[in-house]
């Protein structure tokens, strides 16, 4: 049984249908990349999965339980969510920001075990040296690692991330994705990431789900999904997909340019 499954999910903002009958599943240890053009419904889908938005139809199952029937605190103990541009506002130290991930388990005081879990998460993300710095003083890549560390101390089986690599340079993008892929494989986490960079997604995700106008266009291994036909239909661009590399790699072509030499 997959850890996370989304069945026939639909959602509408008032009279505008945003998601149409979305179905997919994520196994333990798997990284699923959600890709698609701006406004195709990736963020809405993630919010529906986490139960922040109530879907109009369908259901989200997590470890055999339907999210809708769970208390918010229970959801937070089972699934962590890293929103887009999280951590930009915080004035707290890295340690305290990560400690907040224990909120679903905390009543008031913080015990030794909570502190040790925070230290372990900081260690896992190589943030030990920065523990007592303010989050606002960190670089974008470091900040994103702090947010992932916070998701980690929530001790959930699934993590949802909304464009965790936006605003990062290629080195930091790879750093963040390495960490996530490593976490999925070592700890058996199910990770769902909304991404814009198709090549990054193809390199690090086990499977990709391509969305177009709120519906699933394609779903499968990066090799199967990342095709020239998909790029033409979903993104409206001409591109060449190179397949002689460890992962498929797409190179966009300017309209009117000759294809040769790519």
């Amino acid at each position: 049984m997959p850890r996370l499954s989304v069945e026939d999910l639909s959602f509408a903002y008032r009279d505008r249908q945003v998601l149409h009958a979305i179905t997919f599943s994520v196994d333990a240890g798997e990284v699923l990349g959600l890709v698609g053009p701006n406004g195709c419904g990736k963020t809405t889908l993630i919010r529906c999965i986490d139960g922040m938005l109530s879907p109009g139809g369908g259901r989200v199952m997590l470890d055999g339980r339907e999210i809708r029937t769970m208390h918010r605190r229970e959801v937070a103990q089972a699934m962590a969510y890293v929103p887009q541009s999280a951590g930009n506002r915080t004035a707290a130290t890295v340690f305290e920001t990560v400690l907040m991930g224990r909120r679903p388990y905390l009543n008031w005081s913080v015990n030794r075990t909570d502190e040790e879990k925070v230290v372990a998460a900081l260690d896992a993300l190589d943030l030990g040296d920065l523990a007592l710095r303010k989050v606002g003083e960190l670089s974008g890549g470091e900040r994103q690692r702090v947010m992932i560390a916070r998701a980690l101390v929530q001790e959930t089986g699934a993590i949802l991330l909304d464009e965790p690599t936006s605003n990062l340079d290629v080195c930091h993008q790879m750093g963040v994705m390495e960490v996530l892929r490593g976490l999925a494989e070592e700890k058996g986490l199910s990770i769902v990431i909304a991404l814009h960079d198709l090549n990054l997604a193809a390199t690090y995700c086990h499977r990709l789900m391509v969305m177009k106008a709120g519906a699933v266009y394609g779903y499968g291994a990066p090799d199967e999904v990342l095709t020239e036909e998909m790029l033409r239909t979903v993104y409206g661009i001409e591109a060449v997909v190179k397949r002689d590399l460890p992962a498929p790699y797409m190179v966009p072509i300017r309209p009117g340019s000759p294809r040769g030499g790519v």
Binding site: M100, L122, A131
Partner: protein, 350 residues
């Protein structure tokens, strides 16, 4: 030393600093309380003032000059304690509003709550109309209008889906609306009424009494422990609605509850004092600069900073032109604004 030990020790140090800060504030407040009770035009010594307090608390064990006992218990002590409670409450309300709305400018003033209270008071003063009559006409109106403003902000925000930006925008709109109503009332009011309205907006703790102190302390005693109990939720909300939701906080319901509590605290204080500005805005900032934003310590510490600021300002207001008493709102602004700007600039340079 192992890195994990260094990190945990660092956090322990941070916790100790916070405890020391709160302890220091408490000590400073107790000292200032002692000094404030001795201030006034009646001519008796500091020792006599303290004896008067003790004589009131333990009749028979202590004796003080009768005049001193009357003046301290009937005029000074409740005023001093009222200033402490009002400062504490306004600062806590400001901390909560700034936190959940994630806006450093959020305070009972920028959100229209104080402006609505002024309108309520003006209606009572100029038109003589109110929901309760007699002694509580102005107070009752101020209180009701303050809560009305909070409800209106909530209603507007709810209509379009609640969000922190929406709430701040709604609050500013409400503030302008009520200010316009107050201006209109001032325009039609007589010179005497105009003077009363303007004086109300200065804010002061002159009109404190033991029953009023009891009401304010009761509201604080009922609300602040609850806010402290939910400090982690406030911490999460201060990071953003989505972060809070992801950490299991029921965002919309919590925002409403916290806003209503902050508004209730503000309303119950400013209906007795008039608009004492600045404390609710600045005390949380000063505290955050000193010990960071963890609401478990931010709430009590900023409350104490607010209490110190208001009591200090009131003590100055009573002594600087004695026997004349300046409205405390003027003093808080005169002293507090330069201090706040200094702190802010100092911190930026650091």
């Amino acid at each position: 030393m192992e890195q994990s030990v260094v990190i945990q020790e660092g956090y322990a140090r941070l916790k100790k600093t916070r405890a020391l800060f709160i302890g220091g504030l408490l000590a400073a407040l107790l000292i200032l309380l002692g000094v404030a009770v001795t201030l006034g035009s009646a001519d008796f010594t500091v020792a006599e003032s303290y004896l008067a307090i003790l004589a009131g608390l333990f009749p028979g064990t202590f004796t003080a000059p009768e005049m001193a006992e009357i003046i301290v218990w009937d005029y000074r002590l409740h005023r001093v304690l009222f200033a402490v409670c009002a400062g504490f409450g306004l600062a806590v309300a400001g901390s909560v509003m700034q936190g959940i709305l994630r806006n450093p400018l959020a305070s009972p003033f920028t959100l229209g709550v104080a402006s609505a209270a002024t309108t309520g008071a003006s209606i009572a003063i100029v038109l003589g109309a109110g929901v309760v009559g007699g002694e509580y006409l102005v107070i009752g109106n101020a209180f009701l209008f303050a809560l009305l403003a909070a409800l209106a902000i909530y209603g507007m925000a709810r209509y379009r889906g609640i969000g922190s930006e929406t709430m701040v925008l709604a609050g500013i709109a409400i503030m302008y609306l009520f200010s316009a109503v107050t201006s209109l009332l001032q325009y039609v009011g007589s010179a005497e009424q105009l003077r009363a309205v303007v004086f109300w907006t200065f804010g002061s703790v002159d009109k404190s009494t033991w029953p009023k102190l009891a009401i304010v302390s009761l509201v604080l005693a009922c609300t602040i422990p609850y806010l402290l109990y939910r400090a982690w939720d406030l911490n999460a909300l201060a990071e953003g609605d989505e972060v809070a939701a992801g950490l299991g906080v029921p965002v919309e319901r919590s925002m409403v509850v916290f806003m209503m509590i902050a508004s209730l605290i503000t309303a119950v204080i400013i209906c007795f004092t008039g608009t004492i500005g600045f404390i609710g805005l600045v005390a949380p900032h000063i505290t955050r600069m000193a010990i960071g934003g963890d609401f478990r310590t931010l709430l009590p510490a900023s409350g104490l900073v607010g209490a110190l600021l208001l009591l200090g300002a009131d003590s100055i207001a009573r002594s600087v032109l004695a026997p004349q008493v300046l409205p405390v709102g003027i003093v808080t602004a005169f002293l507090g604004v330069p201090f706040f700007i200094y702190l802010f600039m100092h911190r930026r340079n650091a």
